[in-house]
């Protein structure tokens, strides 16, 4: 840092503009990053956060505006160049090579910055091991394919940390992490910041921003709104700056006592899968939203995927509205009205190169087709437009490919896809991952409305405040078994974490 005053910004951006065809993603954005600060960027889905980062990283070229690095004008034309300038980027979407080992994935980016032809594998391996060791328990020699999403996210982070960068960009890194992993990441971020590294941190979670960041810049519709010291503002203020209006209720009202029903929608008895879970029994009652909590790897997703026959060889009994469920394949499950929203929208939730309308129709194309199986494009469009407007989807038109949408809006398409079949039971795996505050509240309200309308809702989330805010009852899963159940006042983060990690079976009795 020689020769620079401590308060000189390392990166200064003025008047940046960027359009994608008719879409103005950025319209004159200013941004300033100081040395050693953790700078949050907040904004709704599609506000332009990722686009701004992609420009800093050289993935996109700006249409106008200027960028100063260390006080000198730069034009970054490729991610490799960005790396050489000391900019590290953890993308919103995970992009690892699934068929090579964790260590090799981590080294991949190093090959760009090293000057020597020979790589010092011993040092690299030690370094990767060290960094992974700090982050969590991942074996560098296993194939990335075998890792869970959250572990993959950790590898992405490790990849960026291996580069000795001066600026580290984290685009919604915690969307795929559990609470505990997130805390570890925050510790590392603070350590890096104290070493003088500047961090840009994007998140839709106000708590994270207010606990860990020094300043926050708010974008709205591609426009720069404000930059504030976190100590001098409030989450409410940031949220209203983001959406341009006041959002009062983050979570919809829960089920009142008089609304409780004894009617059982889904009755699961002794569900067992060879290796993943055992003796799972629970009931989902009409009107309630049931949560599944647990650490990553506890088997939450596996249980619901087992019920709808997406994965695994499952034994046990499942009744839907009292009728034993006989399904051999996920297609049958959809016909019965039981659908699963995947936690990995890019990998197995969406057809990125296909249109929004085709994506929404994917669960049941028959629905928008005549009896002879001929698709009625007008019905397909109308369906997507209707569900899109219900979810407040932001797009130019539903013929756009899903890949042109921002992350949060892609998630809305995935949810619209579920709703298209008027399901009886929906399993939602991380339903608001990467979704902004306003849209999140909207999705929660829709879930509540669906539940009121008699649809069974089961939510899996690693974000405990979300589970506690949305669910009437939460089942905690630990190592493939249900280790406890909480509802009402008992639903606290401490209690759930306790059941998830220590999981006293006796706790059930009390």
């Amino acid at each position: 840092m020689s020769g620079h005053a401590e308060n000189d910004p390392i990166l200064k951006i003025t008047g940046l503009t960027k359009s994608f065809g008719p879409v103005k993603a950025l319209r004159g954005v200013d941004f300033e990053l100081r040395r050693g600060e953790i700078h949050a960027i907040a904004g709704e889905n599609g506000a332009g956060k990722s686009t701004l980062m992609n420009i800093i990283d050289g993935i996109h070229r700006p249409d106008g505006g200027s960028m100063l690095l260390d006080g000198k004008p730069v034009s970054i034309t490729s991610p490799a160049m960005a790396q050489q300038l000391g900019i590290g980027f953890v993308h919103q979407e995970i992009a690892l090579c699934p068929d090579v080992s964790v260590a090799e994935n981590i080294f991949m980016s190093v090959t760009n910055t090293t000057r020597s032809l020979l790589m010092d594998y011993a040092t690299l391996e030690r370094k990767a091991g060290e960094i992974l060791g700090q982050l969590g328990d991942i074996d560098p020699s296993v194939l990335v394919r075998t890792l869970s999403i959250s572990q993959q996210q950790l590898v992405e982070i490790a990849k960026a940390l291996t580069l000795d960068c001066r600026v580290l960009i984290l685009d919604e890194p915690t969307a795929a992490l559990t609470e505990r992993e997130a805390q570890i990441l925050f510790g590392i971020m603070r350590k890096l910041a104290s070493q003088g590294i500047s961090i840009i941190y994007i998140s839709h979670r106000m708590v994270e921003i207010f606990q860990n960041c020094d300043r926050v810049t708010v974008l709205r519709d591609g426009q720069y709104i404000a930059t504030k010291n976190v100590a001098e503002t409030t989450p409410g203020e940031v949220v209203s700056a983001m959406v341009g209006r006041v959002i009062d209720n983050l979570y919809p009202a829960k089920l009142g006592d008089n609304e409780r029903s004894d009617e059982i929608i889904l009755d699961v008895r002794n569900l067992t899968e060879r290796t993943r879970f055992r003796d799972i029994s629970f009931q989902l009652r009409k009107g309630e939203i049931l949560g599944l909590a647990g650490l990553i790897g506890a088997g939450r997703s596996e249980i619901v995927k087992g019920i709808c026959r997406l994965e695994g060889e499952v034994t046990g009994e499942v009744r839907l509205h009292g009728q034993p469920l006989q399904i051999a394949h996920y297609g049958d499950s959809i016909s019965e009205g039981i659908v699963y929203l995947s936690e990995d929208r890019k990998g197995d939730g969406l057809f990125l190169d296909m249109s929004i309308a085709s994506n929404v129709a994917a669960l049941s194309v028959e629905q928008v087709a005549s009896r002879l199986g001929i698709i009625d494009e007008q019905r397909e469009t109308a369906q997507a437009e209707l569900l899109g407007s219900r979810l407040n989807l932001k797009c130019a038109h539903v013929g756009q490919p899903v890949s042109a949408l921002s992350g949060g809006n892609q998630q809305k398409v995935a949810i619209a896809k579920m709703l298209s079949v008027n399901p009886k039971v929906i399993f939602l795996d991380e339903p608001t991952r990467g979704v902004d505050v306003g849209a999140k509240a909207e999705i929660h309200r829709i879930l509540r409305d669906l539940a009121r309308g008699g649809v069974g809702i089961i939510v899996i989330s690693s974000e405990l405040p979300e589970l506690i805010g949305v669910c009437d009852r939460v089942l905690v899963v630990r190592e493939g078994r249900i280790s406890g159940e909480v509802s009402g006042d008992e639903m606290t983060e401490d209690r759930i974490m306790y059941l998830a990690s220590i999981g006293e079976e006796r706790a059930l009795a009390s």
Binding site: S358, V365, H397, G399
Partner: protein
């Protein structure tokens, strides 16, 4: 890419008036190809007085019509994420099987039915190895390409089978005309129109797009992706069978060495027409334009007396150019 490949790409806000219509046309990925073909036609009509004659046009159309049927099968297979290198030898095998049966006294129509069924079974076999055993299309069809060619040579001793006694009503499929239009071309147009419609508008073929676009997401949408891939693999071979029979009727013989290198032509045509080797996109219309382009180039080069060796070099360069142009046109459209 929103290409015309995704049927619902058409749900763009309707443009009005003539200008809107023109804009719509320019947006279609096929427009570029049509322009290239037109330019070639104009250039060739100056270069060779013979080019625009009815006889030459008819000969060109006959040349691509039968192969076009195979292109249809290949395009659908490519969309589902597969590929088939065996199309040339399976087409020849259909001819050889039907020819041998006919020479042994079987009615030619029944012999043809059996030959097409045999090709369909070969496709189903490949589908089995791909979807159940889990091998790659490339390897399975490479093996079948060699095996089927071997069977052709084995069955005929390597010599063409002269089928001089084929009844005229059978030869009619390959040689006859209704009015001035050759039957071959009528069959071709029917196949193209039917499959183009099916692919764009029916639920079954939509699942082919879903599967090719993202197989895992398709499975997570309740689509039986293995069944889809099995069916597209089978369909491609079945259409090769149909093409083989038409060739037999046209040549009045069964040629064991027919169709060597056909797979390259067919795959090139589909790709020039916008099909992606990674699956999920492609149209019948585009692929047929690709076929026409390659065929027009071939016959132009022949008319201009270009050496055969140069012809290959030029054809390869055209493939590269067409795909590059298409790539940029699509990128611009976003």
């Amino acid at each position: 890419m929103t290409s015309i490949a995704t049927p619902s790409a058409k749900v763009r806000p309707a443009s009005v008036g003539l200008m809107g219509g023109v804009k719509q046309l320019l947006r279609m990925r096929e427009t570029g190809l049509i322009l290239i073909i037109l330019a070639l036609f104009i250039a060739m009509s100056f270069a060779s007085p013979y080019f625009l004659t009815w006889n030459n046009l008819r000969a060109m159309a006959m040349a691509f019509a039968v192969e076009g049927i195979v292109v249809v099968g290949m395009t659908i297979l490519l969309i589902s994420g597969g590929i088939d290198l065996s199309v040339g030898s399976v087409t020849a095998l259909a001819m050889v099987i039907a020819g041998l049966l006919f020479l042994n006294g079987v009615d030619p129509w029944i012999a043809s039915g059996i030959a097409i069924a045999a090709c369909t079974a070969i496709g189903a076999g490949m589908g089995f190895f791909v979807t159940r055993v889990g091998l790659h299309h490339f390897i399975v069809s490479l093996a079948v390409m060699v095996i089927a060619r071997g069977l052709c040579l084995l069955g005929t001793g390597g010599r063409p089978l002269g089928l001089y006694t084929l009844p005229p009503e059978f030869k009619f499929i390959g040689q006859g005309s209704i009015g001035v239009i050759p039957v071959v071309i009528i069959i071709f147009v029917v196949v193209v129109v039917v499959f183009d419609f099916l692919l764009r508008r029916t639920t079954i073929f939509r699942k082919v797009f879903y599967t090719g676009s993202n197989e895992k997401a398709a499975a997570y949408s309740g689509i039986r992706t293995k069944k889809v891939v099995f069916l597209t693999t089978t369909l491609c071979s079945a259409l090769c069978g149909v093409a083989g029979i038409i060739y037999m009727a046209r040549f009045g013989s069964a040629q064991p060495t027919f169709g060597i290198g056909m797979e390259l032509n067919v795959i090139a045509a589909a790709v020039i027409g916008g099909a992606s080797l990674s699956g999920g996109s492609g149209t019948i219309f585009g692929a047929i334009l690709g076929t026409i382009l390659l065929s027009v180039v071939s016959s132009s080069l022949a008319l201009l007396d270009v050496s055969v060796y140069w012809q290959d070099i030029i054809r390869g360069s055209i493939l590269l150019t067409a795909v590059t142009i298409d790539h940029y046109l699509n990128k611009r459209r976003g």
